[in-house]
Symmetry: C2
């Protein structure tokens, strides 16, 4: 399978990917261990089994990596960032469980496995999603003194706004209402900024909130998050149109089958690919302007490598 988006490698692209690979392997192992600890095996009446099935052993964990990389860029509180990384992944996981339900996208395959409602029934899938959303905020508010309360409140504030009607849930409502409708590029962008972008942006913002970045750096990281969030969705639309189900681990060609407007249907494949590269350039440009690299060697290196990975991925 070709990469969906072909790009000239960055000058130090290979180095960046190697660095990212070693770092993300180490950090993802910590995220996995934390999720195993924090997503309860013993929740009543099979609820815990459904919650763990929805969360563990699957997914690219892009949002946790963004939280942790942004925290490293600002030299923030790593314990808080680990909780934020897991919390945002729980919100993402719950949204997939609900999105796959018969009354929504009605999908049977996710991450190469039967979806939660196929495995555990619709009612338990619904409740598992609800409980995962609550658990996200539970992870952000430990009572063990490990995270200062002002940071707890700030992280909850960021996450709840990204998850709710002004973010992900609002975007899903637009998505539902737009099936079979012609959308302009700006309407499509608005839908994706909410549906997918808000939570990716929030991941970067939560990582940044774990430190005390200068206002200019915080603004630059926000611009990075916004460009990356949109780039992710453009590439997702390209992959849905060009990759196969086995590679994706989820049903390919679903957007066209459901008559959903996508960047490919609105822009065409070539322009969608160009657009992804423009967004990558915007994301990297924001990091250049952040001033963070002047504060320490390659502070933004991981965020750069993650942006390149997002745009150049093949699944």
């Amino acid at each position: 399978m070709d990469a969906a988006v072909t790009a000239a490698p960055a000058p130090n692209g290979t180095d960046a990917r190697c660095e990212l690979g070693a770092w993300s392997e180490r950090r993802l192992a910590a995220v996995e261990r934390a999720l195993v600890d924090w997503v309860p095996a013993d929740a009543p009446a099979g609820l815990g089994d459904a919650m763990r099935y929805a969360v563990l052993d699957g997914g690219k964990r892009l949002r946790p990596l963004l939280v942790l990389a942004a925290c490293e860029a600002v030299q923030g509180d790593e314990r808080a960032a680990l909780r934020a990384a897991c919390a945002v992944e729980l919100i993402h996981a719950y949204s997939l469980v609900h999105d796959d339900l018969p009354c929504m996208d009605d999908d049977v395959l996710r991450r190469g496995k039967p979806t939660v409602h196929v495995r555990f029934g619709e009612a338990r899938a619904l409740l598992a999603g609800d409980a995962l959303q609550a658990l996200a905020f539970e992870l952000l508010t430990p009572d063990d003194g490990s995270i200062n309360p002002a940071l707890q409140a700030a992280l909850c504030r960021l996450l709840t706004r990204a998850a709710g009607h002004r973010g992900m849930a609002g975007g899903q409502a637009i998505d539902l209402a737009s099936v079979g409708q012609p959308l302009s590029e700006s309407q499509l962008r608005r839908m994706h900024q909410l549906k997918t972008g808000a939570l990716l942006e929030c991941s970067v913002a939560m990582g940044a909130a774990c430190g005390v970045p200068a206002p200019a750096a915080a603004d630059a990281l926000a611009r990075y998050g916004a460009a990356l969030g949109l780039a992710f969705q453009v590439v997702d639309d390209i992959l849905d149109a060009t990759a196969d189900t086995e590679t994706l681990g989820k049903t390919a060609g679903k957007d066209a089958a459901q008559q959903k407007p996508t960047y490919v249907s609105v822009l065409g494949l070539a322009r969608a690919r160009d657009h992804a590269q423009q967004l990558l350039a915007q994301a990297l440009g924001a990091l250049d302007a952040s001033g963070l690299d002047a504060q320490g060697p390659a502070r933004t290196g991981l965020l750069r490598a993650l942006a390149e990975m997002v745009v150049n991925r093949d699944r």
Copy 2:
């Protein structure tokens, strides 16, 4: 219609009810205004309409009243309590929306009106519930400096635990799994402590957290909340078995029709009524032991009147 549970009036029962009536009318007007302001009319693609339909103009608002009465008992921060009152009501409202869905209880009538999915479709009802849960945590984390961050974090901590797998969502999972199953009284109690009790207890605890109660007073309020939470469900089961649909504003006789174990099916009607009175006595006894009334005239008067209202209601 007779009251479902007949009780000897408290010595000053009439006075307490009058006081409660005037106070709750005033406070509920403030809650309603706040909900109208905070539940968005303009969320995208009809999502706001579904959210507002689920929340506004309906319900007894028992949980908000408990938050506000507990806050008054400890002379706490009223602005924080108003946010907590609305937040807990949003969690309650979202749980009803999801509970009424076809894959759960499949109910068409709630508060005398068509349920949210009947009116707006299943997908939008699902999303409205999800967005209401997020909005609850948004209300608790304002960024306008009106509530100190430590209190914001404490309120989120209480609410998320009551809403999630260790609370309401866990209780609903047990409820699902127990349809048609014989349950012992202790299993039934456990289910209801989670499903309904946790959020009612949390309401009292959030109100108390808006002040700085002495540890003994905080413990007593927790015992009050636990007894009241269980009493509420016992009376709910009695009303489901004895009242009619018009009076309840929701489908009566549903528990028996769905073969759900209830306090009436497990204890019989007479013993269930006795049990409700015992729990009322426990709740009032906890307030006697709280020491709060020694700190000011009838600090616990509203909480007492609310407990009596919960047990002696007819709908």
